[in-house]
Symmetry: C2
């Protein structure tokens, strides 16, 4: 397939290898792998997980839950504090899948109990140090109250405690990541000890890609929810989660101008394609992507002497050495590893595999595609139409 515009390439072999490594690690450690599908948001990539035996998934929105429920997933955690304004869709979902919701504040519990028509699993989100959201791990009074309120409902089945160590993303040292992980596991196990008399089963769930990638042995939890590992990216490589060779997505962008006076190459490919996520370099400069070369069956590790250093809406600027500057011409396609694969995929809205297959991304489907309620006839027409056009 001829590439003429910015395109997100997906190396299926690398992706399958990433999936299999994590599936195997979870199996070896006796853990349920509940991968976070917000990274790929693709029904087809989801199937690759299913083929490896994965049955439970994590998503970051109710809309994403509907999308994957429509593709046959029946055990779904919406890993964001529950949005009580979406009760209508939550009810529709809870009528057909095992739905897991996240509670952070006690006051949502009576709203859920009143509004739900079906039972759902609920997890208390615990803040073990990231400080984005969650009840602080030693704030027992708040946790006591929340659990009492949950226990008094008949719609909310308390499932356990979950945490997300987003602060591992700021680390570049494996020992620091291990320490963060251990603190979280200790906190969650203290809560397990405290409350295990009150509930028949309490599960513990964690799930950042750095911990799940760097640790070989994971004990003291029941479930892991990493997401980014399916593709990895330059941020995770910088953290130490993966090698360059494991990065499974790559942007392909046309060269549209060259500036010999300052060794800069202009790409058709900007912030609406890559997203604005950036890796700050030790010299204070910004890195928005690194250049690789295509081989017969994939791409190389990044080449030296040329980097994506700036993005505006549709333009990207590469800064090069004399030698690298001479290697690329207007009309060439250049290949760039992304800084943050989740946001790049969400911006690009579809994938092209190295075999030339187009894979869908939820963000590329029209808003109306998942609109609820939806007449069955329109649903069918739309699916036919999509397959006809693509």
């Amino acid at each position: 397939m001829k590439i003429t515009v910015p395109t997100l390439l997906l190396d299926k072999e690398k992706c399958l290898r990433n999936i299999r490594l994590m599936v195997e690690k979870a199996r070896r450690n006796g853990l349920r792998l509940r991968p976070h599908f917000k990274t790929h948001q693709s029904a087809q990539v989801g199937e690759w997980f299913r083929q490896e035996g994965v049955e439970a998934i994590t998503v970051s929105s109710v809309r994403m839950a509907r999308y994957f429920a429509n593709h046959g997933w029946t055990d779904i955690m919406v890993a964001i504090p529950v949005n009580v304004l979406e009760l209508e869709t939550i009810n529709e979902l809870a009528s057909r899948v095992r739905l897991h919701l996240i509670v952070v504040n006690e006051e949502v519990v009576p709203i859920l109990q009143k509004g739900l028509n079906h039972k759902v699993a609920v997890w208390l989100k615990i803040d073990t140090g990231y400080h984005r959201t969650g009840i602080p791990a030693t704030n027992y009074k708040t946790i006591d109250n929340a659990l009492q309120t949950i226990a008094a409902t008949d719609k909310l089945e308390f499932q356990g405690f979950m945490a997300h160590d987003g602060h591992t993303y700021k680390q570049t040292d494996a020992e620091a990541i291990r320490a963060i992980h251990q603190t979280t596991v200790d906190h969650l196990n203290q809560l397990l000890e405290r409350y295990k008399g009150q509930f028949q089963t309490i599960e513990l769930s964690i799930g950042d890609t750095p911990s799940c990638s760097i640790l070989e042995t994971i004990v003291g939890v029941d479930e892991i929810r990493p997401g980014n590992f399916v593709f990895y990216d330059l941020t995770q490589q910088h953290i130490g989660s993966n090698t360059y060779n494991q990065i499974a997505v790559c942007m392909a962008c046309p060269v549209i101008a060259k500036h010999s006076e300052r060794n800069e190459i202009i790409l058709y490919g900007g912030s609406v394609h890559f997203s604005k996520d950036v890796l700050s370099q030790s010299d204070g400069s910004n890195l928005f992507g690194r250049v690789v070369a295509m081989t017969g069956n994939g791409w190389t590790d990044p080449v030296e002497g040329i980097n994506l250093v700036s993005l505006s809406q549709e333009h990207g600027i590469l800064k090069a050495t004399d030698e690298q500057f001479a290697n690329y011409s207007i009309g060439d396609i250049m290949y760039i590893l992304p800084i943050h694969s989740c946001l790049t995929a969400d911006s690009m809205k579809s994938y092209l595999t190295l075999e030339g297959e187009r894979l869908e991304h939820l963000a590329g489907l029209p808003e109306s595609y998942l609109q609820f309620p939806r007449p069955h006839s329109v649903w069918r027409t739309c699916e036919c139409l999509t397959s006809e056009i693509i």
Copy 2:
């Protein structure tokens, strides 16, 4: 219409006022207004321009050009160095609209001459100080050569010199913006003087929102191409281009958690909604948006004591004073002015007007919608289907 998920609101009255002010300024100065439609990317917003007499537009991709050509626009500049890999679509477009392409490097000229089936207008992009792309304004040898090569073709009609003063975006002082603008106008007029003997007509085109907003009198050019002014945003307000009251788009996001231990409110609304663009504050902190309150017919200026200070993929964190923290509850919708309206609109992919009308955005249309070539029957089916579902 009940809002339950992150939604981009559009105040049509403010937007129309922004459009009319710029149309009137262009008319008063005897300039052609060729607004940059990359900010809104919406057929319906385009109609509001048409109603004010605008006939020529700017876009940032060939895809966007096709979208607006399909909606009846016939004079379109693709304001990015021409992507020679898209000649097939360029030819299709050039067969039905007056298409303006941008040349930066001489070597694209023979590629265009060979590949084009129809005449197009070409502009030389001149770098007058922004240093993103363009031929340096005093690099006469390069400009001489490029113009000679263009003059020798029969498909490329040299239209004039164009520049984009993107460096005004880094200013917060009207005098600095005036100085940048004047430098650019001087450079372009020097080129006009130098080459006016060789070409029957040479037009000069400029077009950043700060200059076009701040200057009342614009002389020495033929055309202005501002884009962001249709909505404005906090970045432009910071620069001095607009008042808060002129910002015509606003995010509506549900409150999903509250953290009284640190006066933080968690929104359902993250970087996939707002984009990651940020305003660095003088104290070193990051600003991702400011809170407004809804009134009977729109929204207020930003309130003090509460700001959007952090974004992850789907979460936003607001930091508040005690008083402001108490003002918002879980399940409320909060209203946030965006940092960069172009990227927020591109992320959100549609608009909801205050009157409850849904407006489309090109990014929200399926990739296949504009695919080329496209069977006419499928095109019609898809349009019917879209109107049926929405």
